[in-house]
């Protein structure tokens, strides 16, 4: 796929023979026409592995695109939120155990920026709710009391995400997520902060879950 910068006649747009010119987010593209179905070569084992990785991470990130657009807002000028998150996570997202490719949940990042993380983050599951707590102090740097906390909980078996219904602030120090009865499986919890204007965000912190249930 070639990119032509604006020349004297401007970027190429539309179909010309076997190529199509278009633009997206102010980036001009030239793409080949779509191939006919069934003409694709069978991928090599390495290509198949790579495709599997792309699919796994993209499928994982797609349902939380709205949250990603908050956490990665400075990177969205020339990318979608899912693409930005994909590029941020690709190098660290996978744990290859033999032939199985799985996500390394502890290393995933849904936000990036100079806002400070809270510290002392804890998560516990109780009565079908995940309760997350954090340190409320800002220590005079890199954070405000009214920063909004975004908590993400992922249910691995049902492959669904849960987030906090009510916006908790840094000052609140706690947020509760209703799992709507979806307990009894592996759960992963992350927390990040964004300022009220949603211009700055903190890094994402993975919080190991402790359980109070038998």
């Amino acid at each position: 796929m070639g990119i032509i910068e604006k020349g004297i006649n401007g970027p190429f747009k539309g179909k010309a023979g076997s190529v199509v010119g278009s633009s997206w987010k102010k980036i001009s593209y030239i793409k080949g026409l779509q191939r006919k179905k069934g003409t694709k070569r069978i991928p090599s084992s390495q290509q198949a592995l790579q495709q599997q990785r792309f699919k796994l991470l993209n499928d994982f990130l797609r349902p939380i695109s709205d949250l990603l657009s908050i956490g990665l807002s400075p990177f969205l000028a020339k990318a979608t939120s899912v693409n930005a998150a994909f590029s941020l996570n690709y190098d660290r997202a996978f744990s290859d155990e033999g032939d199985e490719i799985s996500l390394n949940y502890g290393a995933l990042q849904f936000s990036h920026g100079s806002l400070c993380t809270a510290g002392a983050e804890k998560a516990r599951i109780e009565n079908g709710h995940v309760t997350v707590t954090w340190n409320t102090k800002t220590y005079g740097m890199g954070g405000e009391m009214d920063d909004i906390a975004y908590v993400i909980v992922y249910h691995t078996e049902k492959q669904v995400f849960f987030s906090n219904e009510y916006q908790a602030t840094r000052q609140d120090g706690t947020a509760s997520i209703n799992l709507l009865g979806n307990t009894g499986s592996e759960l992963h919890t992350w927390l990040f902060f964004a300022d009220k204007q949603q211009k700055r965000a903190s890094r994402t912190v993975y919080i190991p879950l402790s359980t109070n249930e038998p």
Binding site: V19, C116, G142
Partner: protein, 190 residues
């Protein structure tokens, strides 16, 4: 077809050693200073002609000039040589520091100087570049007090961190050059 490539952009060749080295210098400097942006935006403002962005750029330039050592690919930042504030105000002499798990206390003195005012405000900054977390004193402390205390964020309870101290005038127009007190921690119970 001429449309498929742009003659003005030749094919990318392998980046030169100098280019890679310069890029690494920039990356290292940026990574070190970025968490300190709120402090630098104030303490370097005089050098940024009123612009926080320019102020940060000036601090970055100074760090790249003075506080980087080694050859590519083993370049590194020397935190002792980093200036997180700059100016003509007389600095302080550190007498002692007391480190507990959650707090850091620093005792200091100040020499007689026509520029030094007793109501100059002292700023103590603790910073760990490894975890990217910094904190400063939240209570106002004056030059005449001789003692300052900062609460440590939980992220710094178990990792080593750097400590910087500087002074600014009550009007926040004049600043002193920061001093690096040292690298402290992680705290261990005796």
């Amino acid at each position: 077809m001429d449309l498929l490539y742009d003659r003005n952009h030749p094919k990318l060749t392998e980046k030169s050693y100098g280019k890679l080295a310069a890029q690494q210098r920039m990356r290292l400097a940026m990574a070190f200073l970025n968490p300190l942006r709120p402090v630098i935006a104030e303490s370097w403002l005089g050098h940024g002609k009123g612009s926080k962005k320019k102020a940060f750029g000036q601090a970055l330039k100074k760090l790249m000039q003075d506080a980087l050592e080694g050859d590519y690919p083993e370049q590194r930042v020397i935190p002792e040589r980093v200036d997180i504030s700059i100016g003509i105000l007389p600095g302080l002499q550190v007498e002692d520091s007391v480190h507990s798990q959650q707090t850091l206390e620093v005792y200091f003195s100040s020499k007689e100087n026509p520029l030094a005012r007793p109501n100059d405000e002292v700023v103590l900054v603790v910073y760990s570049p490894e975890v990217g977390v910094a904190a400063r004193n939240t209570q106002v402390c004056n030059r005449s007090e001789g003692y300052i205390k900062v609460e440590l964020p939980p992220q710094l309870w178990s990792v080593p961190f750097h400590v910087y101290l500087f002074v600014h005038s009550a009007s926040r127009k004049r600043y002193s050059k920061s001093i690096h007190i040292g690298q402290l921690g992680p705290w261990q119970e005796r």
